[in-house]
Subunit: 284 residues, 2 copies
């Protein structure tokens, strides 16, 4: 496409690409960890790009952020302490804080610049950052989980970039073992798990195998639409040692005391029904 007014991300291994029409580049910097670009798009609000990869737009981030949080929070019987690893745009944190039973929510992001720029360019995602229950740590999430008191966390949400580069260490057995130790008996881990179409036989299956080797026993992958990510179709995967992740507090979800744009109780139940090919690939 010979059109400089579009920002394009090419997904080389799949031979596909997605573009958004740009009105203005609002910011660009090389942080300690990655290249960060912020654009104002024509129809999708603001856009954040990390190392050339789409991260978040105003228009469609609700799909990802709601599905990374509300299913796991309504699956845990009583989530009080929740930790987001990554998630520097604060969108997951904001959704977590909608749950009144949460008493302590941490965002552990390696790159403080992502959060500072999000405060500036995505104020809606950061609208709960001053909630007294919100805590921020900028540093290595793997080490933070390692240092956490065993059994002290109810839910770990891994809201990371792709499993290459900085986030590679968030997709292996060693990391999942430290998560399991940090979680309480009824604790649940949820991890963004890439594209159902592209990665069911690779990243998703391999990740679940690593989780299993680390001691997790119950799994549930939840697909959801996400237009700006490769294939426009994304997923997260819940894992626990002791509690089922195929059941959830349906009545509480149905009577939730906060507004959502995508999530509801029936949609949560519906998302648990995997396509035929995923059932075959994942044997869930």
């Amino acid at each position: 496409m010979n059109n400089d007014s579009f920002f394009t991300e090419i997904w080389t291994p799949e031979g596909s690409a997605f573009s958004l029409e740009i009105e203005e580049k609002l910011h660009e910097e090389q942080s300690e960890f990655q290249k960060i670009e912020i654009y104002r798009t024509r129809h999708w609000g603001n856009l954040m790009v990390l190392d050339g990869c789409y991260m978040v737009t105003d228009r469609d981030n609700f799909l990802y952020h709601e599905m990374m949080t509300h299913p796991v929070l309504f699956t845990h019987t009583n989530p009080r302490k929740v930790v987001v690893i990554g998630g520097g745009d604060c969108g997951a944190l904001k959704e977590v804080l909608k749950h009144p039973n949460v008493t302590e929510a941490w965002q552990v992001e390696i790159d403080e610049r992502v959060t500072r720029l999000s405060e500036q360019y995505f104020p809606d995602l950061c609208s709960s950052n001053s909630d007294p229950r919100a805590h921020f740590y900028f540093g290595d999430g793997i080490q933070w989980i390692k240092d956490a008191e065993p059994g002290s966390i109810d839910i770990i949400i891994v809201d990371s970039t792709d499993p290459v580069g900085p986030a590679e260490g968030l997709f292996n057995k060693a990391f999942f073992e430290t998560c399991l130790r940090a979680l309480g008996d009824n604790g649940i881990l949820v991890q963004q798990s890439e594209s159902p179409l592209f990665h069911s036989q690779t990243i998703i299956r391999d990740m679940i195998a690593e989780m299993r080797q680390a001691g997790f026993c119950h799994f549930q992958t939840l697909p959801f639409p996400q237009p700006i990510y490769p294939s426009g179709w994304w997923s997260c995967t819940m894992a626990s040692k002791n509690v089922s992740v195929n059941e959830f507090r349906y009545d509480h979800a149905q009577e939730k005391v906060f507004a959502t744009h995508y999530y509801n109780a029936d949609l949560h139940r519906g998302a648990m029904a995997l396509p035929e090919f995923m059932k075959r690939d994942l044997e869930q």
Copy 2:
């Protein structure tokens, strides 16, 4: 994207675009109705493009074709005569013919060249074309439905292009009235209904209003992923006059005698759970 090895469709009103890497242009012609291009892509098999718009690839058409057919066929109590309006690539017809209770399946496509090229370049989609229950008519679908014997059809599947140009007449009250007259008492219409993200407040809502004015009473929109279509997220909408389209033959779907790649009974039930914003927009 300054890369001639990609075919790109720009979705101008939404300021977004999708591209697939091309290895070779296999065919191009201007038919009586539209420009038809066939490409061999690098990772998505063959691709058909009509008037510059993505129509079908080998890799992801199963999502669309399965969702346009199996939900409605398992919703009707006993579908015997099924008509596809459009659907010249024969993919919907192939899925319809998987149902053993179907005795007569028509494909009514305005552009015979689409079907002839599909036979050549998408042989898998055309693998049931010689089924003795399969019938083909190449001509105007609106007139064909008008001429059909009243009450003679169990299911009408409108597998059309976007509601501009040739397919515009497939989205209004006049067409839906002729559909209603052609359908039996328990008859069901299903129509491709564009993107949940882009069109819930426009095309989908307007189309349902036209269906309602034509005499249809029950509606169910089903969202599903479709990477090559705008936003990567698509939908179809079922409509009937007398029978519920929120219930279906779950047991039959669960014990279906044919293989699918996406569809299954639980996924069908799950797809009926609309996102919060769609429930608000459509008041279903």
